[in-house]
Symmetry: C2
Subunit: 156 residues, 2 copies
């Protein structure tokens, strides 16, 4: 088959979403950041990141404030959010296979010998993604490279 | 974002690959099956399944025999294969995120606070996919629906 590297792979949008949430969680409460600064801090293309930020606003994890002191601001719900909930805010429910989508997604699932394997693999993965919160990840000590990226995202 | 349901999702090709391998592992040693029978047993479209079978042949998990008694036959290596190795034979290495692709896939991975989460999530999922072998899954007791599908795949 075509050697696509995308089987079971996170989308770029979700990856940037996690990056930007962690970065925003390192900022003091109520501090606002502008799109160009967030794009620099996360090494993400601005136009793409803009759509990700819209999804995070809709999920109630961040808000966009207008005006001279405007910008994006993380909300307490965003700091408390798990990695899983941020991914799902951007991409919808995670399902390692179609048969794990809720509802009658595959007529074989009641008897398919592989179905329990997909369910166990998803459960194992979700355990990790549920346990990691944005606030915890933002508390990780920053390396010099990360401090430098974060500094570049400060207003001049 | 677009509510694609494909983030972190197995491809249809890999799903059919696992289905067909499990089905073939329920057949006696050296029994051969034709493409239409395999498509019926796995509820997969023939033309698509044909490409999956080619990938499984290239991986050395099955062989295609020509002639009047020809057809696809599972090899001992295919019975012993793990779910992970069958997926990877079809789609290439599984990487939950780009930063887990071997080589310098993301320049942030040495300092990104999210990287260890992706690595742990992948490790947890791989544990399940490595542990489940095709032979084990083929030994699961068949439900009436599965027996019926398997019966339909016998030569008339």
């Amino acid at each position: 088959m075509a050697r696509s590297s995308s089987t079971m792979q996170l989308t770029r949008a979700a990856d940037y979403g996690i990056r930007v949430m962690i970065h925003m969680a390192t900022l003091p409460a109520h501090e606002r950041a502008l799109l160009p600064a967030l794009a620099r801090a996360t090494s993400a293309p601005q136009s793409f990141l803009s759509k990700v930020l819209q999804a995070l606003c809709r999920a109630g994890f961040i808000v966009s404030r207008r005006g001279q002191a405007g910008g994006f601001e993380i909300l307490p719900a965003g700091r408390k959010a798990s990695v899983r909930s941020v991914i799902e805010a951007i991409e919808g429910p995670i399902s390692l296979n179609l048969c794990l989508v809720s509802g009658a997604s595959c007529k074989r699932k009641s008897f398919c010998p592989a179905h329990p394997v997909w369910a166990s693999a998803q459960e194992a993965m979700m355990g990790v993604l549920n346990a990691a919160t944005i606030a915890d990840l933002a508390l990780q000590p920053a390396t010099p490279q990360l401090r430098s990226l974060r500094a570049k995202s400060k207003p001049a």
